[in-house]
Amino acid sequence: MIKLTRIDDRLVHGQVSFTWVPSLGINCLIVANDKTACDDFQKMALTLARPPSAKLLILTIEESIAFLNDDKSKNAKILLIVNSINDAFTLSEKVTEIQSINFGGIRAREGTRLISRAIAVSDADISLIKQMADKGIELEIRQVPNDKKQLIQNLL
């Protein structure tokens, strides 16, 4: 079962292993990212950051879709992490279980603007956000679990 789908461009770090994992009782952490899944150095770094109470899977987007749609994954309490709105969009298209997406941190890049403390979006991102919102997916900003949920639509 997917307990949380999170967009965070730092992937697994303090906020994730320190607050989200204990607060949701996560026992399976999935990092869905094509580049990371083929990068041994990155994989090694993420392995270091894994909280002891959870399993860590580093998968490509395609592998993640297959895994999440498999019945075997239904027993695990999953925290799914991607590093871009684009990847979140792809996953939400193919995995119907994703009905809510948490925006944790997206740093400012060329052509983006900050819409919240830690969230920067581009025009392309905004169009994806609108498409997801239209489908009724909840899009909320929270860095840590006890932050107040802010709906992203209200900030655009």
């Binding site: 303090g14 906020q15 320190f18 770094a45 270091l48 950051a49 002891p52 403390r117």
Partner: protein, 527 residues
Amino acid sequence: MLVAYLLISLIVIFGHLEDFFGAALLSRPLVLGPLVGLVLGDITQGVIIGATLELIFMGNIKIGAAIPPDVITGGVLGTAFAIISGKGPAIALAIAVPVSIMAEMVISGLFVLRPMLNSRFNRFAEMAEFKKIEKLHVASGLLKPLLMGLLAFLALQLGAGVIKSFLDTIPPWVQSGLQVAGNMLPAVGFALLMNLMFNQKVAAYFFLGFILASYLKLPMIAIGGLGLIVALIITGITHKDPSPDEMNFDDIPSEPEAETKPIISKNDLRKVFLRSLALEANFNFETWQNTGFAFSILPVLKRLYTTKESMSKALKRHLQFFNTSPHGSTLILGITAAMEEQNLQKEGFDEESINSVKLGLMGPLAGVFDSLFWGTLKVIAAGVGISLAINGNILGPILFVLIFNIPHLLIRYNLTFIGYKAGNRFLQNLAKSNIMDKLTTGASILGLMVIGAMPAMLMPITTPIIIGTSESQVAVQTILDQLVPNMIPLALTFLVYFFVKKNIKTTWLLLGILALGFTGSIVHVFA
């Protein structure tokens, strides 16, 4: 009083200078409280109030962009007013909580505004003017302490009279209500810390800590020592200490391709370590610790890049977004130093790889070092420090600082060199061995034992309820003590933990417990 107010404002400034002192806990209430006491001529009260506030704000730590209430300004002003009015810790707390929440808003505002400096930083990088980058980083870093110092001074100068006369009108029943609420509030801190470490695998150690403190009445240092021994036995690392500073890296064969002569000197790396203490001076919500990273790595860049063009390129590279745990930042700085050196020496070195390694490591390593330093080391330091300081013992704050910073600075210093020399191999070895697992398990065992001891030792909450007829009266507390001593503090801690699990915001938890303690005292359920 003017001199005292000025000195107290200086303490606020000193506290906020923590951004230059490497998050070394010098800004915690347990350290600043005694300083305020010193200024106002009552160190013992300062120590006791500092300990009380430390307990309440214990779970209050900065992870990522989640900015906690500003305990520096709140704590110092709370302590000052409590000592001036002679009303004790309860008043300190009544002032510290709202002030720290208001001060946090000011600081968040500053973090939102600081990105305006970024275009200036980038312009300096373009022109390779590293001295101006250094100056601006420091100047922006000084802004927060000076601003908060000024605000504190204004609050004291304008508000002291009003607040003092207001405090004088507080009736005794309100004060005793606040007293009880204050004794109850630490449950919030305990619960927040439990939340970091508590899971089925290690839950038992929490209760072990509780039993050692509640039944055997062991002091905190003994429980910490026992915790360390238990952690070593359970994780099976009795033969070799796994802390990075003690690991021996001399036997790691040096990389075969490292035939080029090293340009970076030991002294350069030492400077990097020292400068890393100011990593967060210009923390902002757009690029976070970026200028701190550039500031820290500059001794290396200065050594390597002598032309304007190469220096400008390097500066731009290191002004990109960065954010990691300050305590372990030197590992990434060391690795970066080694890569910059290779960049200079090797034809066709991929410059982009420097940033991708930096960005790839900062998140994961933040997770590792945050849990080690905030989750464990700080908890033990606070446990030992508070348990002494709560009785007015000045050794409390001193041990608090030493227990945290001796390992902190040793590890931080050595990581610079480990990063530079062994870099990726060090990380690969860590990832391959199960040492990280052992370390985190051991750390949470030790941390939980200390936290388990805390409700028993540091939360003097009892019930004055008496049952029975006038001939045979029985105090409920006596019955409870016979069942499980300190049962009420333990139950309250779990009650708050339950709400923490429900993701209730810390501010509401604080207010809720405050209300519970206050009304509980008025209706004579708690004392």
